[in-house]
């Protein structure tokens, strides 16, 4: 059966979708990706859809699911490279993909994930510094 490869890049996962997704392939990707996030403890997921020409409500839902599931596992999802025609169609369909971060290309997506990690760390630090003091 067809599978979409998931690449590991440091603490991030990269998925490049090269074919138009059909339903079962999308469902497999969802399951594989969540497994991978859990197994590798990845902090971010990059989904590159620059080669995808059609995203309908089902695919949109899968992307949304991946983002929500990853979020629970403490990983942020960034969708990169969406084609203009796909973006317009998704908006008209009524699917603004709330909760999913977006970036123009993989490089910018990676930078976005890194900046989110940095902010995360800063707040973590502050929390520790301002945290309750045991007397």
């Amino acid at each position: 059966m067809d599978r979409i490869p998931i690449l590991r890049m440091g603490s991030f996962l990269l998925v490049t979708i090269q074919v138009d997704l059909y339903d079962r392939l999308a469902l497999t990707l969802e399951a594989d990706l969540v497994q991978m996030v859990n197994k590798t403890g990845a902090r971010g997921v990059l989904i590159d859809i620059s080669a995808v020409s059609i995203v309908d409500s089902f695919m949109g839902r899968i992307v949304g699911n991946i983002a929500s599931m990853s979020k629970i596992l403490d990983a942020e999802t960034v969708v990169v490279g969406m084609q203009p025609a796909v973006a317009i169609t998704l908006i008209e369909l009524g699917l603004p993909l709330k909760g999913v971060h977006t970036a123009l290309d993989v490089e910018k997506g990676m930078a976005l994930l890194k900046s989110m990690m940095d902010e995360d760390q800063e707040t973590d630090q502050e929390e520790i510094e301002d945290g309750p003091v045991v007397e």
Partner: protein, 286 residues
């Protein structure tokens, strides 16, 4: 009926043409600047040829019949060309009306002694020529509409320039009324340019838009949302106080959109978002 119209046409073809040409050339409205006499002659000849060779006695009055279609095709072609060349409706109409005059004159010569036949035949010729003028006007107007449509397309294309104001910042000033079709073009060219230049911020300046109603606002929101899906940010600038008033009165929610009063403040925002700084250099330092 003793007199056959198609026979008469065939016999008198040359005379009709000459008379018709004479009528046309005598007309004050003749546009020698737009059409040469030779060209006019060949157009006229073509039409008479079609008229003579396609028409029998039976189908003469039935303009809808198939035999008429070559005539109508030629006439339509002439009307469309004239519409594009900039003839007025009157000048185009005269082309057919002067043929009618010529036909009636020939008919009169042929039926000198037979008043009843003259009356009956001129009625038929009138009817037919009137139908032909209707066809002429219809096609003429269609030709003009095509010209207008083409111009509309051109205007839409010209009026949506996407400007690269900085590395990574695009601006699109919109001037004139925004309707659905235009917004479509604006949105598509903006999004395409974002992909091509890899710009992460786009500024949509609406200072040249006379009014914003709920439909326009909806289009703007759509453009902003689509830009976000692609991974860029879209700022709306150039919102005049009147527009702010109407937007609130109409109950349109623009809170999800970044709005700025002027293009300058939108640019300042964009610089800040990209961590760029514009500084004044103190005098004496270079």
């Amino acid at each position: 009926m003793s007199l056959k119209i198609n026979k008469l046409l065939q016999k008198k073809k040359k005379n009709i043409l000459e008379l018709w040409m004479k009528n046309q050339l005598a007309d004050e409205g003749l546009r020698e600047d737009l059409i040469s006499n030779e060209e006019l002659r060949s157009q006229s000849e073509e039409l008479i040829d079609a008229l003579v060779s396609n028409l029998g006695e039976d189908n003469f009055e039935n303009v809808d019949s198939d035999l008429w279609s070559p005539v109508i095709e030629i006439l339509g072609g002439i009307a469309i060309t004239r519409a594009r060349q900039g003839f007025t409706p009157r000048e185009t109409g005269n082309f057919v009306f002067s043929l009618k005059e010529a036909l009636l004159e020939i008919l009169q010569q042929e039926t000198k002694d037979d008043a009843a036949a003259l009356f009956a035949q001129s009625l038929r010729i009138s009817r037919v020529m009137d139908s032909l003028s209707v066809v002429t006007f219809e096609t003429f107007i269609k030709g003009r509409e095509e010209v207008i449509l083409r111009q509309t397309d051109e205007i839409t294309e010209i009026s949506t320039p996407v400007i690269r104001v900085w590395d990574g910042i695009l601006a699109l000033p919109i001037i004139g009324t925004l309707d659905s079709a235009r917004t479509q073009v604006v949105m598509e060219s903006l999004l395409q340019e974002i992909v091509e230049t890899g710009s992460s911020i786009a500024i949509l300046d609406i200072s040249g838009v006379p009014a914003v109603d709920s439909l326009v606002a909806q289009h703007l929101i759509k453009t902003v949302s689509a830009t976000r899906l692609m991974g860029a940010e879209c700022i709306i600038s150039g919102i005049r106080p009147e527009i702010a008033q109407t937007v609130v009165h109409l109950g349109i929610d623009l809170s999800t959109i970044i709005t700025k009063a002027s293009l300058a403040s939108a640019l300042a925002y964009a610089f800040k978002a990209m961590r760029l700084e514009v500084k004044k250099i103190p005098a004496g330092q270079r």
